[in-house]
């Protein structure tokens, strides 16, 4: 019976942990979609940009060094050496870098609201969607110019490698990095949920998600809310960027993980935070199980398309997703 087979559980667990990553990206989408009705195509690039910036701070890279050197004939590369040398940076330095990156993401959110969203207020959803595609390209280009296009190593000192304790107990290989990712994701989701349920700002966020005009009438400033939402989405992107970057290096293909969030959203529904989490887990586990048990029969490499086929099935039978709001129009 396969339920007693440790290999089955290893696959399930690795699927769950991969799913956490998808969930993190999908979460950023849901936050922005709920508050502004914008499908933010740039969410994946946001994660890339956050990870690039974090690496930049940790390595002490001079932003736009290449451009500056070309223009002025100078030769700047680094502000400072990473403290700690080859043994990994000390915790205070990692914390400082993450704080600085968070500040950059908040500033970026402010710029997006002022430059992109505000001029387009009251426009059709499709126009805002196009604007976020533009934003994705701009951010990718700026990230490239700022920090260079080479693949970077992101090591913030998270535990990695298989956990010996779990091997001893159960005989399964589970990566410690993935466990940390799961723990961080859980903390993030719980605190976001508490924040949105029990604080004034959280209520304002939900209010804006429900009805813009009514929100204005009770004195909620849409711009402020959008700024907060994009900041939170930026911070979620930073967490996603750290986790993806730590496991597979910071590279420009990171922005493509955003595409994997699409089937997650179709499963979970575009408006549900729990949906994004559960959707991510289902896709993660589903594609791993499919790859290992059915993949060999049909030639493998199913991970590339399984999620999309699953999403297509959902679109046929439950278009609002598992947790999405069912829209009933009165006629």
């Amino acid at each position: 019976m396969f339920l007693t087979d440790p290999f089955f559980w290893e696959v399930v667990i690795s699927g769950l942990l991969a799913g956490v990553m998808y969930s993190l990206v999908a979460l950023g989408f849901v936050l922005i979609f709920k508050a502004s009705g914008i499908f933010n195509f740039a969410q994946g690039v946001l994660a890339l940009f956050a990870a690039l910036t974090l690496v930049g701070f940790m390595d002490g890279q001079v932003p736009f060094a290449h451009v500056i050197n070309e223009a002025l004939g100078t030769n700047y590369h680094h502000w400072y050496e990473t403290p700690g040398g080859g043994d990994g940076a000390p915790i205070w330095f990692v914390a400082l870098s993450i704080a600085a990156t968070t500040a950059v993401m908040i500033l970026l959110a402010w710029l997006v609201v002022k430059v992109v969203l505000k001029p387009l207020v009251n426009q059709e959803g499709i126009i805002l969607f196009m604007a976020t595609i533009g934003l994705a390209f701009v951010l990718e280009g700026v990230g490239d110019l700022m920090w260079g296009a080479n693949i970077k190593v992101l090591d913030i000192g998270l535990p990695s490698g298989p956990s010996d304790w779990i091997i001893d107990q159960t005989g399964m290989f589970v990566n410690k990095l993935e466990i940390s990712a799961a723990v961080v994701a859980v903390i993030l989701v719980v605190s976001l949920t508490l924040f949105s349920q029990y604080t004034k700002m959280g209520r304002a966020l939900r209010a804006v998600a429900d009805d813009h005009q009514a929100a204005l009438s009770v004195g909620i400033s849409l711009e402020t809310i959008w700024w907060i939402v994009w900041s939170v989405a930026g911070i979620v992107a930073l967490v996603a960027g750290i986790m993806w970057g730590a496991s597979s290096g910071v590279q420009f293909s990171l922005s493509l993980i955003a595409l994997k969030a699409l089937p997650v959203l179709m499963l979970g529904g575009f408006t549900s935070i729990p949906g994004a989490i559960i959707g991510g887990l289902i896709i993660g586990v589903g594609e791993k199980l499919f790859e290992f048990y059915i993949g060999p029969m049909i030639g493998g490499a199913t991970e590339n398309w399984f999620a999309y086929v699953l999403a297509l099935g959902f679109l046929l039978f439950r278009p609002q997703g598992l947790f999405g709001e069912r829209i009933i129009e009165r006629i």
């Binding site: 604080t199 429900d210 009438s217 009770v218």
Partner: protein, 267 residues
């Protein structure tokens, strides 16, 4: 009872003055050269046939629309181009013709959003949910409970408002507007689509708000019986122009108003 309360509505202090307001959308004139005032403590009705510009007028007062001409003076301060959410912070609350509630949220949360402008603790305290933010939350929750009692909606406190029947939704919306402790309350057809009993309830709430809290109210209403009973003074609009202004009995006998409602052809 203060001195102000005992004066007839027309002689009290002016709360809001609308002076020569014109508003057009492209080539369409929604409002032309309208002036009137709203005085402290009165119930001021704005009436007129469909398309007369009543809701546009409310949207101008509320800051949703920006008139091309004219000035609005609220509490003695002429105001510049105002952003919609600023009306609320300045003490103007409103309800909508087509209910605009936060449908996914409970009655309690909906009304709590109304107190947003009165809650001052910053984001950091809120995020930690301790100390001053917690105390503030509790204090405002108590105020909201009072409003819930006042509107007799205790039984639906936790119900998501999207599930409530229409009449109750209107009541919750009134509650949300009241929660802001507004100095001017704008009601856009508070009784539209209600049956007789619901209308009587709503009328009672409006009168109670006015007498118990001393809130100044401007309301748009189609039911003439209700308007005549409730309001201290009435302003009548037709085709974006003001055709009458005064106490209900005077307006009722105004020939222009009668023509507008009976449909005399316009030259």
């Amino acid at each position: 009872m203060t001195l102000v309360d005992t004066l007839p509505a027309g002689q009290r202090e002016v709360l809001l003055e609308v002076d020569n307001i014109s508003l057009s959308f492209g080539g369409v004139k929604a409002i032309s050269n309208i002036s009137f005032d709203i005085r402290v403590g009165e119930i001021r009705a704005i009436i007129g046939p469909n398309g007369a510009g009543k809701t546009s007028m409310l949207n101008v007062i509320n800051g949703f629309y920006h008139p091309q001409e004219g000035t609005i003076t609220f509490e003695g301060v002429p105001r510049k181009r105002m952003r919609p959410h600023h009306a609320a912070t300045h003490g103007i609350a409103r309800t909508f013709q087509n209910i605009a509630l936060f449908r996914g949220m409970s009655t309690l949360d909906n009304i709590m959003t109304g107190r947003g402008t009165l809650m001052k603790r910053n984001l950091l305290w809120q995020a930690l949910w301790t100390g001053p933010a917690e105390a503030e939350e509790i204090e405002h929750r108590e105020a909201v409970e009072k409003i819930i009692d006042f509107l007799e909606i205790q039984h639906i406190r936790k119900t998501p408002v999207g599930r409530l029947p229409y009449g109750l939704q209107k009541r919750v919306e009134l509650g949300r507007a009241l929660a802001a402790e507004p100095r001017l309350l704008l009601l856009d057809e508070p009784m539209a689509g209600m049956n007789r009993e619901e209308k009587e309830d709503m009328s009672r709430f409006i009168i109670d708000v006015n007498t118990q809290f001393g809130t100044t109210i401007a309301l748009i209403e189609h039911d003439m019986g209700v308007v005549m009973d409730l309001s201290d003074r009435v302003v009548v609009l037709d085709y974006g122009k003001k055709i009458g202004d005064g106490p209900p009995e005077e307006v009722r006998n105004n020939q222009d108003v009668i023509d507008a409602y009976l449909g005399v052809p316009h030259e």
